[in-house]
């Protein structure tokens, strides 16, 4: 059976070229970058080369890159770091974010609220966009951090970070963005968008899992999460994951080099998918028609439930995901879909298809053959055929 992986926003295959550059660091060049001897210095050189590469791709200086264990840690470090810095001065403060952030941001915010920080969750419109005016209105004299994600992991909507960061800076407030989904998909230039903090994760860009980075603009003070031997200039202690970091930097370099060629190809496949799905009755595309990740297609198919859809597709070799409650640990439908105004019954019927480097025209043809059949089969079983009133 054909296997079609359409879940690249969940994670992606490590590129063979990435595996190749990682391998020596497991068993040959395995030194500790803090050791004085030759093997240690060799590891340190690999670490600093990787940092240079990452910095170059994100358009910053190597000193501004802190390697972490991935997107979750980078986001935690930005929020808690800003909060700890404030606490150290004996004060609490106000944080602004949006209602559609990843759980690692929202749960961090809730925890900070339990410590006495206040958090404003900016709403989004039906496309998932934050309005600049709402940000302007939300900033107070007590605001210490604004964080709005660059691209949303479910519906793929891309925010105008440059404009939002500008608003925060006019009021002297730090600006962070979660760029985990956008890096290598669309241009990310920290200087151009003017952010102070930016999170990246390796496994979403064909790199290994458990590694990523936080960009921290020079002059920005955020306290560390991890104290110890003073690695990463004291910001992130712990012996560096050299194979992971080397792999991450290679994945980023390949992703950036290939983006001008690869993303238009993927976007064409994605558009073909959207066009093909649009003929299915009682279905629609969620997110913004234009300002969206080139890899992302997100649909609702009324009268069926997303977990069933994902499992039936999986039975046909097509791997996708859903924002349906039935597929989540919390049994609540996706907070993102509710935030863009979908009623719960429609949020349950959602399907996310996210493309990547490995997808081909044949994959899309196969998906466009199988998906309508699966939708028809599940609708045959459903008591609802034309409305929820039956």
């Amino acid at each position: 059976m054909r296997q079609v992986y359409l879940d690249h926003s969940a994670t992606s295959a490590v590129d063979p070229r990435v595996i190749e550059v990682m391998m020596p660091f497991f068993d040959v060049r395995y030194g500790n970058a803090s050791s004085l001897h030759t093997m240690g210095q060799e590891a340190n050189r690999a670490l600093e080369d990787a940092r240079k590469t990452v910095a170059q791709k994100l358009h910053c200086t190597p000193e501004e890159i802190i390697f972490t264990s991935g997107g979750t840690e980078s986001n935690n470090a930005a929020f808690k770091g800003a909060a700890f810095t404030r606490l150290r001065k004996g004060k609490k403060g106000h944080i602004i974010t949006s209602t559609i952030e990843h759980d690692c941001v929202l749960n961090t915010c809730q925890w900070l609220e339990s410590l006495g920080f206040s958090v404003t969750y900016l709403p989004v419109d039906n496309y998932g966009l934050v309005s600049p005016e709402s940000l302007e209105d939300a900033i107070t004299g007590d605001t210490i951090l604004v964080s709005i994600m660059h691209a949303n992991n479910e519906i793929g909507t891309i925010q105008d970070i440059r404009e939002l960061a500008h608003i925060a800076h006019e009021r002297d407030v730090l600006f962070h963005t979660d760029a985990v989904q956008s890096v290598t998909k669309v241009p990310v230039d920290v200087q151009e968008i003017g952010v102070d903090l930016l999170s990246v994760s390796s496994h979403k860009i064909h790199g290994p899992k458990g590694v990523g980075c936080l960009y921290v603009k020079k002059g920005t003070t955020v306290d560390p999460l991890l104290h110890g031997g003073g690695h990463e200039k004291g910001f992130r202690s712990g012996t560096e994951n050299i194979p992971g970091i080397v792999g991450f930097s290679e994945a980023l370099a390949i992703g950036e080099e290939e983006r001008p060629r690869e993303m238009p190809r993927i976007e064409r496949l994605r558009d073909e998918l959207i066009d093909g799905v649009s003929i299915i009755e009682n279905s629609w595309l969620n997110g913004h028609p234009k300002r969206r990740l080139p890899i992302n297609a997100h649909f609702c198919f009324r009268f069926i439930e997303g977990e069933s859809l994902v499992l039936r597709l999986s039975g046909k070799g097509i791997y996708a995901s859903t924002g349906s409650a039935c597929s989540s640990k919390s049994l609540k439908p996706s907070h993102v879909l509710l935030a863009i105004g979908l009623p719960p019954e429609d949020a349950h019927s959602s399907l996310r298809l996210t493309l990547g480097r490995d997808n081909t025209e044949g994959d899309i043809q196969y998906t466009l053959k199988v998906l309508p059949e699966v939708v028809t089969d599940l609708r045959k079983i459903s008591p609802f055929k034309a409305s929820f009133q039956e």
Binding site: F303, I304, E307, S308, R312, C326, L331, K380, P383
Partner: protein
């Protein structure tokens, strides 16, 4: 996550379909929760002669609908009424714990269909 039995009933649902002129219908669940189940029965001499169902829901909801139709067919109303959520889950080699509450609606649906049949007959 799901047992082989659940996956089998989910992929090859038994006794699925809308029933013309049923003797009783049980409707349970809510689109807002993502699971809705309609259970239809035909009754003769207090025995469930035929049973079918329509379900919108997750794999567990579809599998429990399918399973209850097998468990209830040919049973007397009094026997069928005693089928519990636990019986359905056991027959499916268990359900994930999060699904025991929300999606395991079939036993309730069947009881409602029996109640509807009795109401129609003025036997309630």
């Amino acid at each position: 996550m799901y047992s082989q039995q659940v996956i089998d009933h989910f992929n090859n649902p038994r006794n699925q379909g809308r029933m013309e002129n049923p003797d009783g219908v049980g409707k349970v669940g809510n689109p807002v929760c993502g699971d809705v189940m309609y259970i239809y029965i035909k009754v003769k001499d207090d025995v469930i002669q035929d049973i079918s169902w329509e379900t919108m829901g997750c794999a567990a909801a579809i599998a429990t609908s399918s399973m209850i139709s097998e468990l209830a067919k040919g049973k007397t109303l009094d026997e069928a009424e005693k089928i519990t959520r636990g019986d359905v889950a056991d027959a499916l080699q268990g359900l994930p714990s999060v699904k025991m509450h929300c999606s395991n609606l079939a036993a309730d649906g069947l009881r409602k269909a029996i109640e509807d049949y009795r109401n129609r007959r003025g036997m309630a």
